[in-house]
């Protein structure tokens, strides 16, 4: 990611003391998101169960980083620690040097199970409004945030429908719009496109890249799809199986803007997906 531009949308989820980051941030020594020796163990004593052993990686401002690894490796546990839903057992995760101890106001999380994360009793627009209520925004701004978020995912026409009246891909776009309306600086997605068909998946991947460009967001995506990780990411964090640890961080040097047809047919694309795949397939 080259020089950081001023965000297209102002960031106003106060509570955070963080000012808008100067351009020097990119090369600064403090990364946006810093995961250092993070470990997570459930239970205690003999019944204890270590899901994450020792994870260290960073995400810089404006980057798209994908985390891949075998299924059941503890990727979701990692995201829950990052989102402040579960405390880490040891080590720490921090945003701009501040340790995450609860849900960070500058972060939004998109779950894989859109049909469980969207509220079926609320219309699309009310789903978007639900997490914004406690920010006590003026009505005009609330409306503007919802309108622009829905427009960004191409669902302006669906705001009065209920999530269950929409297709799977549209529901996941509603979940993404809800995150956008929250105006996060860091967007975290947990296997966001795993439950949709292949064509919708491509569309949602491009939507993800468009969001990064339009809103200048830092995006962390957990996926089990290696092609998807290479297509989306600036860097791919490859996790090894349980308990989770980082095998390697692969820099993806594919040209921008990425395109589903041309990017995926580049020899470099094949080379890098092979690199990631062989890391995962390699016997421990």
């Amino acid at each position: 990611m080259s020089a950081r531009q001023a965000p297209t949308l102002p960031i106003r989820n106060r509570k955070s003391t963080m000012a808008q980051q100067p351009e020097t941030r990119i090369s600064a020594t403090t990364p946006r998101l810093d995961v250092a020796h993070l470990a997570k163990t459930y239970g205690s004593g003999e019944k204890s169960h270590t899901v994450i052993e020792d994870l260290t990686f960073t995400v810089d401002a404006g980057e798209v980083v994908c985390i891949v690894g075998p299924s059941g490796v503890g990727k979701t546990t990692l995201l829950k620690c990052l989102a402040g839903l579960h405390p880490a057992s040891s080590g720490r995760a921090s945003i701009d040097g501040r340790t995450i101890s609860g849900p960070p106001p500058e972060m939004a999380l998109v779950f894989q199970d859109y049909n469980r994360s969207l509220m079926p009793w609320l219309t699309v627009r009310k789903n978007l409004i639900l997490p914004l209520r406690h920010l006590k925004l003026p009505a005009a701004e609330l409306k503007e945030r919802c309108d622009s978020a829905l427009a960004a995912v191409g669902l302006s026409h669906a705001d009065n429908q209920y999530p269950w009246q929409l297709s799977g891909g549209m529901q996941q776009r509603v979940a993404i719009a809800r995150a956008l309306a929250y105006r996060p600086e860091i967007l975290i997605m947990d296997e966001p496109f795993a439950s949709v068909d292949a064509q919708t998946r491509f569309d949602l991947e491009d939507l993800c890249l468009k969001i990064r460009k339009d809103f200048n967001m830092t995006i962390l995506v957990v996926t089990h799809d290696i092609d998807e990780a290479v297509y989306l990411a600036d860097r791919v964090v490859v996790l090894g199986s349980r308990p989770a640890r980082v095998l390697k961080v692969v820099d993806v040097d594919l040209p921008a803007p990425r395109d589903q047809i041309t990017t995926r047919s580049l020899p470099d694309f094949a080379r890098q997906r092979t690199e990631v795949l062989s890391l995962i397939k390699r016997p421990a």
Binding site: N13, K15, K80, A83, G84, L85, G102, P103, P105, M107, A108, L109, F111, D113, R116, S117, M119, P120, W121, L130, P131, R133, H134, Y162, W164, Q165, L166, S167, Y182
Partner: protein, 257 residues
Amino acid sequence: MKASIRPYAFSALGIAGALVIWQVLATAKVAGNALPPATTVFSTLTSTLGTGTFWSALGATIGIALLALALAALAGVAIGLLVGSFESVRYATLAVLEFLKPVPPIVVLPLAVLVLGPTAEMSLFLVVFGCLLPIVMQTVDGVQGTDPVARDTARSYGMREGEILARVVLPSAMPYIGTAMRVAAPAALVVTVVAGLLGGGPGLGQSIYQAQAAGDYASLYALVIVLGVLGLLFQGATRLAERRVLHWHESYREVVP
């Protein structure tokens, strides 16, 4: 058109059949004077509908049942949310609640009459007692059935626990609460009548008791018919309300993708 008329036609046929059987059995005096013929009961019903005492008794019954139902719903949902949300409250109360659940209101009736007398308050107390616990238990189930992903979503957006309870957990529990209310509404009516019949509380139960004491069986059955119709109305109204409140739930959705 045919398909929509058929069920009603069969219902009418069933009702007519039941009335004919009643009439035949009553005319044959199978139960002596205790079962008057349908025709007599309906003509008594017509004259009963013209009296002021009947309407005030009907009003009392409906008023007590509805007020008690509303009180039980408010208290039951509030208690259920507390019990379901906080482990300590759950451990402190669950044994007592489980113990009280199978106790029928009629068992408490002597105590209620002794303390409150044959009053509307006594009836109200009994109905609330009978309806409260099922609503509490269903609400607790609903709270615990809330999808953890929905809760995590709300928490990840920085929503506070109180807001999550009101805006995520309570709506999630509504289908459970709806079921409880559908069961509680007819039960409220039944207990109101029992309180009148056996405890002397005001309303149709008391009227039935008086008719029975006077040996006026035609009036007694006329009142029973009124009660039956009232029960159907209660059931219909709760179904309608449930359908409106839970229009988003799987079992009521009109548009399926």
